[in-house]
Amino acid sequence: MHGHWAGYIGNLHVHFDTLIAMWCAMLFVIIMSLILTRKLDIIPNKMQTVAESIMKFFIENVNDIPQGEKHIPLIGSLFLFILFANLMGQLPLKLIHLKEGEIASPTNDINMTAAMAVIVLFYYLYQGFKKKGIHAIWHGFSVSGIIMFLVELLEMITRPLSLAVRLFANILAGEILVMVMVSMFAIALPIPFMLFEIFVAFLQAFVFMMLSIAYISAAVTEE
């Protein structure tokens, strides 16, 4: 099982390997965006073309939400960050081995994915309250209204829980699968599984993004 390089900062229990890997992914996304958006022009150069195609991908996907483009900052940064965080764990040797655990994907730590899921929860609740006021969760004093209110309360727990556990478990299971394959076969046979894990990295980032879009869309759409 994966260990974590745990320690304390003050009273906080901290996983340092997750922190370091997270900062690496963050730095990578920030530096990449800075490089890609240099020298913007009407006639795009190569880097601007890449940036524009990424942006077009997001714009196509937030079409479900009315005025969806104002949600792109959150949705897009979630997607890019999760994508690079997942891909970091698929480097064949995990590069740096520590005494306890290794610097792999930060998304194989449930604290990381739970934090992102809670961000999405607060964001869609905030958008819902801004749009509809108290009617975002309260549907009036009837039997069906109260049942709907209870269901909304339940969803506040189950939605972030399923978001967090899905991403975390997929990445962790992928890493363990590759680990088992590496220890079982001598050479070359684990490579298909590693390639599959790269596909899973894209897929899980996409799924996280699409589910966030679906939740935000449900929160801001009038019935």
């Binding site: 099982m1 399923s162 899905r166 997929n170 962790l172 897929l203 799924v207």
Partner: protein, 79 residues
């Protein structure tokens, strides 16, 4: 092979059952999703682009349920 004697041996049975049952459900779900995708795609091939995106999303959601079982099995067996 020795018989199962203690509670800690039973844990592995539980882990195996967790992964097996979860994989069964996920497999059925994936099969239904693929069936729907193929039917829709063969009836209206011009919608394939749109269907494919939703199919991949649905397949990932169904697969995640199988992964939950795997997670429980790992927690049980590495405890």
């Amino acid at each position: 092979m020795e018989a199962v004697k203690t509670v800690s041996d039973m844990i592995y049975i539980g882990a195996g059952l967790a992964v097996g049952l979860a994989a069964m459900g996920a497999g059925i779900g994936l099969g239904i999703a693929t069936k729907g995708f193929m039917e829709g795609a063969s009836r209206q091939p011009e919608l394939i682009e749109n269907l494919q995106k939703k199919f991949i999303l649905g397949a990932a959601l169904a697969e995640a349920c199988g992964i939950y079982g795997l997670l429980i099995a790992l927690i049980l067996s590495f405890k």
